[in-house]
C-alpha cells in the first residue's frame, strides 16, 4: 500500500512500522521486520517491550493516516497514546523476525479512539494490548 512515511507523522529513529498491508472495515494489518539497528533493541539483542507497544500504536496511526488520506487530508494526523491497558508481552522478538499486527479500531469519542492490537510472529502471539489514542485536531 502507500509509502509508510505518508501514513504516519513519526520519523526515524522511531519509525516502528514498515508497511500497512491490509485495511478492511474497522481492522487493519501491518508488518515490521525487526532489524539490528532498531531503536528498541536491548542489551540481550531482543526487541524490547516498549518497542512492541510503539509498533502497535504506530500500526493504529498508519491505519488512521490511511483513512485521513482517503478523506482528502494531505498529511497524516498526529496522535498520542492516552492509555495502555491489558498489555501482555509473551516474549521479546529477535532480530530478523517479521512482526504481523492486527489492529481493530473501536468507537471514537471526542477525539479519543479505543483500539485493540495483537502482534504475531508466524502463528505465535508475542504481544497484545488495548490502547486509547487521541488525535490532535
Amino acid at each position: 500500500m502507500e509509502d509508510i512515511q505518508k501514513l504516519i507523522p513519526q520519523r526515524n529513529p522511531i519509525i516502528q512500522v514498515d508497511e500497512l498491508t491490509r485495511v478492511e472495515g474497522d481492522s487493519a494489518e501491518t508488518r515490521l521486520l525487526v532489524k539490528a539497528d532498531n531503536y528498541f533493541i536491548d542489551e540481550d539483542q531482543l526487541f524490547a517491550e516498549p518497542g512492541l507497544i510503539e509498533h502497535i500504536a504506530q500500526s493504529a496511526s498508519a491505519f488512521a493516516g490511511y483513512q485521513a488520506l482517503q478523506q482528502g487530508a494531505t498529511t497524516p494526523p498526529v496522535g498520542y497514546i492516552g492509555e495502555v491497558k491489558r498489555f501482555h508481552c509473551y516474549r521479546r522478538p529477535a532480530i530478523g523476525e517479521q512482526l504481523h499486527t492486527t489492529i481493530i479500531m473501536g468507537a471514537e469519542v471526542a477525539g479519543v479512539t479505543m483500539l485493540t492490537g495483537e502482534t504475531r510472529v508466524g502463528e505465535e502471539v508475542v504481544a497484545d494490548t488495548q490502547m486509547k489514542i487521541f488525535v490532535e485536531q
Binding site: 507523522p9 513519526q10 520519523r11 526515524n12 529513529p13 522511531i14 519509525i15 531503536y39 528498541f40 536491548d42 542489551e43 540481550d44 524490547a48 517491550e49 516498549p50 518497542g51 507497544i53 510503539e54 500504536a57 498526529v78 498520542y80 497514546i81 492516552g82 492509555e83 495502555v84 491497558k85 491489558r86 498489555f87 501482555h88 508481552c89 521479546r92 494490548t129
Partner: protein, 124 residues
C-alpha cells in the same frame, strides 16, 4: 539500560520509609535523537520511552533485570516534552509476586502528573 544517559540522566534518588519505594529525579536530555522523529520540529516525549524509564527505575529499585510482562493500566495524563518538563520525578513502589514484582509508578513534576502506571514485571 536502553535509555539511561541517552534519553534521561539520573540526578538524585530519594529513599522512603519502605526499601521498595523510591523516587528517582531525572533530567530529560533535550537533544536525544528520539526527538528527530517524534515529531520533526515538535519534540514530544514518546509515551513508550516514559514506560521504559519506569522499567529502568524499577530495575534500579529492585536490583533485578526485569521484563514488562503485563501492563494492567498506564494512563498518560499530560503531554510531556523536554521543554515542558526538563526534570521529572519517577516514584516507584515494588511489591513482590511469585515471578517478580507488581510495579506502581507515577511520573510527575511540581506542576502536574504525566503518567500513572500499574503492572507486573518478571525477573529475567
Amino acid at each position: 539500560m536502553l535509555l539511561e544517559n541517552k534519553y534521561y540522566k539520573l540526578i538524585r534518588v530519594d529513599d522512603s520509609e519502605s526499601p521498595l519505594t523510591k523516587t528517582y529525579h531525572l533530567a530529560l536530555i533535550p537533544d536525544c535523537d528520539v526527538y528527530r522523529g517524534h515529531f520533526p520540529g515538535n519534540p514530544v516525549c514518546p509515551g513508550v520511552c516514559n514506560i521504559e524509564t519506569i522499567k529502568e527505575c524499577a530495575m534500579m529499585l529492585t536490583g533485578k533485570k526485569l521484563l514488562i510482562s503485563t501492563i494492567k493500566q498506564c494512563r498518560l495524563t499530560a503531554i510531556a516534552t523536554p521543554a515542558v518538563c526538563p526534570e521529572i520525578s519517577v516514584e516507584v513502589t515494588a511489591t513482590e509476586t511469585p515471578q517478580g514484582y507488581t510495579i506502581l509508578a507515577t511520573i510527575a513534576d511540581a506542576q502536574q502528573t504525566y503518567m500513572e502506571y500499574k503492572g507486573d514485571m518478571m525477573i529475567l
